[in-house]
């Protein structure tokens, strides 16, 4: 890791420089209260004051809602052609928690059987992080996701008059050297950065009490009254999954073109909250109740990957809390679960 500082005025020319060589995707104000990451035409469109975007930016680019995996041609001889669409892009202004969400997806899609579609896109994505403002439902601090230690090429922290830049890759270094006059960080800059981070962490007001959550979860596993209560308002709509930076469930489907000679295999996001999620041919449903599905979602987010990857898959962004029509709140539910086994 290299550390440099850049005056605020230098940020604009950095962005202009990036745009001269790459497609730039950054946070843009769409409406009074809505921000989204989209292609930037002019550096002035970028609004780093955003608190959240409905859809997590890295996931949208790397693992789109639907994508073609395979094309095939039928006939005497069947030809099967894998398809991926990977372009060099720069994702600018992504928060630490969304970066950590991407880091989680990186592990999912690169472990066991590497997923070429995801990996090809990921390898071509240049990531520039930024300490975005947490929203009031953001509990990333509790999940250890308010700070990103990897996954980015550059990470920019705005210290007021200047920017503290962590440079993690050769690509990041070359961008900084080509498009900015950033200078080596001094001792005072490190002091200012540490002070900045201490204050930044104070902005996270929502708390998830994660101590011994895994054991509490197991202890309440068969407490049907509790799980029925937690899930009783759930509409099984899947909004929580759609906005989650780490949800990665998908369905694979086959379709034929109208000429009945060409077809394709594609995938599209699925939701573990929907009744069909655990349905198999013959009609047996392994996850037929809302309570079971919510319980599985919480296990997946808060326990499963502490055992597999030594990390939660939840990064605490709070999107599901805000997206839920039934006002199901994951950090409040964490408290309810822990209350059952309180000492």
């Amino acid at each position: 890791m290299l550390y440099k500082v850049l005056e605020n005025s230098g940020l604009k020319s950095l962005l202009a420089g990036i745009m001269s060589g790459y497609e730039l995707i950054g946070p843009k104000k769409l409406d009074r209260a809505i921000h989204d990451f989209s292609v930037i035409k002019d550096p002035s469109e970028i609004d780093l004051s955003y608190k959240k975007t409905t859809v997590p930016p890295a996931k949208k680019l790397l693992f789109p809602p639907s994508e073609t995996l395979i094309n095939y041609k039928l006939g005497e001889k069947i030809s099967v052609t894998p398809v991926i669409d990977a372009r060099q892009r720069v994702l600018f202004g992504v928060s630490a928690w969304d970066l950590n969400g991407m880091n989680f997806l990186d592990r999912i899609f690169s472990s066991d059987y590497p997923d070429s579609n995801y990996i090809a896109r990921r390898e071509k994505l240049i990531v520039i992080g930024y300490d975005a403002e947490p929203s009031e439902t953001n509990f990333a601090l509790s999940m250890g996701a308010e700070y990103a230690s990897k996954g980015f090429d550059l990470f920019i922290s705005n210290l007021g008059s200047r920017n503290f830049i962590r440079i993690a890759t050769a690509t990041g270094n070359s961008i900084i050297n080509s498009f900015s006059n950033a200078t080596e960080a001094s001792h005072d800059d490190f002091v200012a950065y540490n002070r900045f981070m201490r204050n930044y962490r104070k902005k996270f007001t929502a708390i998830a009490d994660m101590d011994q959550f895994g054991e509490s979860y197991e202890a309440t596993y068969n407490n049907n009254a509790l799980w029925d209560k937690l899930a009783k308002n759930c509409f099984s709509c899947g909004s929580c999954n759609l906005v989650c930076p780490t949800c990665f469930c998908f369905n694979v489907r086959d379709d034929m073109m109208l000429n009945l000679k060409e077809g394709l295999k594609s995938r599209e996001w699925d939701s573990c909250m929907m009744p069909e999620y655990g349905l198999v041919a013959g009609g047996h449903n392994f996850r037929s109740t809302r309570a079971n599905r919510l319980k599985q979602r919480y296990r997946c987010k808060l326990k499963t990957f502490t055992e597999k990857f030594e990390t939660y898959s939840c990064v605490g962004c709070g999107r599901c809390v805000e997206a839920c029509l039934a006002k199901i709140n994951i950090y409040e539910d964490i408290s309810s679960i822990k209350k059952e086994v309180n000492v």
């Binding site: 059987y113 086959d254 077809g263 699925d270 041919a281 013959g282």
Partner: protein, 281 residues
């Protein structure tokens, strides 16, 4: 820029259905040969593994492989006509092309560890298909095992899979075959009732006995109660779990069982693992 890659985990190999046999009124056996000779010779599976089969234009579904792993020229699938993909397969004729991915699953029936032990195979209904691969493997090297028993339960005599083959096994003196049905017909001479009833009669001792169980979800709970009663060891009992699978390669997440995935960690788990997964059974 659009990039073509050759090694997508979602790309099926083209294969030909070379033969179709009706096993019952609802199940057919498909003999499948991978077209490309290099891909065919690279296709080696272990008992308990499964493939993802594509009916082009219809979809993809997971099927366990019931044939012998030592057969390198082709493999077989036993398919019940019950869903969109299996329905389309049942309408196909010999010579038709399908797509094959796999074999998948790291959790398999550990026939190598079973050597020198007794083996009891307990199957219910369509559960006979996944365990047949193990049974054939053991029969090919029968001298390496001690006692061998097959307990197979079905709804009615007409729904018994591989019936001729199983009747043939009864002529051998090195395997004990027990059949049971819920609804016998007038010619039925074997047991009546669920296969759980036949477990108390097992005479093998727990320390040198492996048990393999495969059947519908409802069967497991009762079989396990009986096996526990007989003090068979959880680490020597293996069960194959069915779950919804979309990808087969640990990505789509549908087959989560606790913190495991049935597709990559299973589909075969020891009872010890299953008891620690809570929602498995």
């Amino acid at each position: 820029m659009s990039l073509e890659i050759k090694d997508s985990i979602y790309a099926p190999r083209v294969a030909t259905i070379t033969q179709i046999n009706a096993l019952t009124s609802t199940e057919k056996q498909f003999k499948i040969k991978i077209d490309d000779t290099v891909e065919r010779s690279a296709f080696n599976f272990l008992p308990g593994q499964f493939v993802e089969l594509t009916v082009f234009g219809v979809g993809e579904a997971p099927f366990s492989i019931p044939s012998s792993p030592s057969n390198k020229e082709y493999f077989e699938l036993c398919v019940r006509n019950i869903g969109s993909v299996s329905g389309a397969l049942h309408r196909m004729e010999a010579g038709a092309k399908v797509g094959i991915r796999g074999p998948f699953g790291k959790g398999v029936f550990p026939y190598d560890k079973m050597r020198g032990n007794n083996v009891v195979i307990i199957a219910g209904g369509l559960g006979m298909a996944p365990v047949r691969s193990l049974l054939l493997q053991i029969l090919e090297e029968r001298q390496n095992y001690k006692g061998l028993s097959l307990i197979y339960g079905c709804v009615e005599p007409q729904s018994i899979l591989y019936r001729d083959e199983i009747e043939g096994l009864r002529k051998r003196n090195d395997i004990d075959v027990k059949l049971t049905v819920d609804r016998p017909d007038n010619n039925w001479k074997d047991a009546v009732g669920v296969c759980t009833n036949l477990i108390p009669n097992l005479e093998y001792k727990p320390e040198d006995t492996f048990i393999v169980v495969c059947g519908p979800p409802v069967m497991y709970k009762f079989v396990i109660i009986e096996l526990n009663e007989k003090k068979y060891l959880p680490e020597k009992i293996f069960l194959s779990l069915e779950r919804r699978m979309e990808c087969g390669v640990g990505k789509c997440n549908h087959c989560h069982v606790g913190n495991k995935l049935a597709c990559v960690d299973g589909p075969v788990f020891s009872l010890w693992e299953i008891e620690n997964l809570k929602e498995a059974i």
